[in-house]
């Protein structure tokens, strides 16, 4: 029994040390960027686990493809071909417009380039912390992804990359309570900032003047201010406007256009060199 006491004391000291270490680590992680290296290395080790976890979904997708019948594939092929033709036609028009736009911009002396470089990535997993809205994607620094790159799906902006290692990266969604994105109303040109509020289908625009020209159904695009997000990508659509008569502001709720909770294929957009201040 005598032996028990020194050991217990030892554990207490050890625990005390570890507890203070945790507190210091949290403080450093919150205030500075030094722990990014640790995070990136540990998540590198975790990358195989993430692949393993997403394996069932991948298998189901693969099996679906394998088992879908001949006629299904033929039908799909017809639809896709039609889609392809329509898109091609649009693209031709786009190319003309783009050329024209570039010419006009050149005439104006603007250095902004139009074509953004994109990387196609797939969703690996959704972070399970109920207080955050983070997703893991399967592209990392090896594929050219870097901190701050915007992530979009076919419908609009999803978020931006906040942690990255060689093979995977973490994206914070625009609906995360800690995220804010500079936006602009297409119709009126009013600029604002859209805050996430933790629920996947809502963004909040605070402190808009009560006189601002906003209507339900207005579309929001990125304004490109701040340099993080490329300009003119669709972000959200206004779903409600709450006027508070006691204060001079309105609070506007908008629904993100990107399918934040269901998109599996995403695109990582490298910001244009012409407009990024960094």
């Amino acid at each position: 029994m005598n032996q028990l006491h020194p050991r217990e004391q030892n554990t207490s000291i050890r625990t005390l040390f570890l507890v203070s270490l945790c507190v210091v680590l949290m403080f450093v992680d919150q205030r500075f960027n030094h722990l990014e290296v640790v995070r990136s290395n540990i998540s590198l080790v975790l990358a195989p686990l993430r692949y393993l976890v997403s394996l069932p979904v991948i298998t189901v997708d693969w099996a679906n493809e394998w088992l879908s019948s001949h006629t299904d594939i033929l039908n799909e092929n017809v639809v896709l071909k039609a889609d392809g033709r329509i898109l091609n036609a649009r693209l031709q028009k786009m190319q003309v417009l783009q050329a024209e736009n570039t010419r006009l911009r050149n005439m104006l002396g603007s250095s902004r380039k139009l074509a953004d470089q994109v990387i196609v990535a797939e969703l690996l997993s959704v972070d399970q912390n109920p207080y955050r809205q983070l997703i893991e994607i399967n592209k990392g620094t090896n594929d050219g992804v870097a901190l701050g790159h915007a992530v979009i799906d076919d419908f609009g902006i999803m978020g931006q990359v906040i942690h990255v290692n060689q093979y995977t990266s973490t994206t914070i969604l625009i609906s995360d309570p800690e995220h804010a994105i500079p936006v602009q109303f297409i119709r009126s040109g009013t600029r604002s900032v859209a805050f996430g509020n933790g629920s996947v289908d809502q963004l909040e625009l605070r402190y808009l003047p009560a006189t601002a020209d906003i209507e339900v159904g207005d579309e929001l695009v990125t304004s490109g201010l701040g340099g993080r997000f490329p300009a003119d990508y669709p972000v959200a659509k206004v779903i409600s406007i709450a006027k508070d008569l006691t204060r001079g502001f309105v609070t506007v709720l908008a629904k993100p256009l990107a399918r934040l909770d269901s998109s599996r294929e995403v695109l990582v957009v490298k910001p244009n060199n012409g407009i990024t201040p960094e």
Binding site: V19, M26, V53, D127
Partner: protein, 159 residues
């Protein structure tokens, strides 16, 4: 059989980690029990000399990375509950499974309080359901975790 022992412990914790990053439908997510904490509590109870605060700390850092929380947040919670558990392990071992489960609920609530507290300091409002939901589910599955890990430990004759 030193290697086998650590291998089994490591493997069980790995399974716990996988269970914690496994995608679940949104509404069920807040009820996900803290698998890693349950498994750590078991190993600490069975082998307090081998699985102690240090391992809890390392695993905690890994959980933090996988969950996108602050580095040290889960680690702090795990270190503290493992410390409490280490002081009680002899009494807990002889309890019935039901009593054990209630005790584990207490530990999980403590860990939850620490995690939510840190979130609160950083100004993120924690959802109420997540608070007691996850420890409650943890309490319900504790007997199964206990029996399964005990059988594994006996089969592998880890003492």
């Amino acid at each position: 059989m030193l290697n086998l022992r650590y291998f089994v412990i490591f493997l069980s914790l790995l399974v716990g980690l996988i269970l914690m990053i496994l995608p679940l439908p949104e509404p069920v997510q807040v009820y996900r029990p803290h698998w890693v904490a349950l498994i750590l509590i078991y190993w600490n109870m069975a082998l307090p000399d081998r699985v102690g605060p240090w391992i809890a700390f390392i695993i905690g850092i890994i959980v933090d990375t996988s969950q996108g929380t602050l580095i040290g947040q889960h680690a702090l919670a795990l270190v503290i509950i493992i410390y409490i558990n280490q002081n009680f392990h002899q009494r807990i071992r002889v309890m019935s499974l039901v009593q054990q489960a209630i005790y584990v609920f207490g530990l999980l609530v403590i860990s939850q309080v620490i995690i939510v507290w840190v979130e609160g300091i950083m100004g993120r409002p924690p959802p109420i359901l997540a608070f007691f939901g996850a420890p409650f589910v943890g309490m319900l599955i504790w007997p199964w975790v206990f029996i399964m890990l005990r059988d594994i430990r006996r089969k592998a004759s880890i003492n």
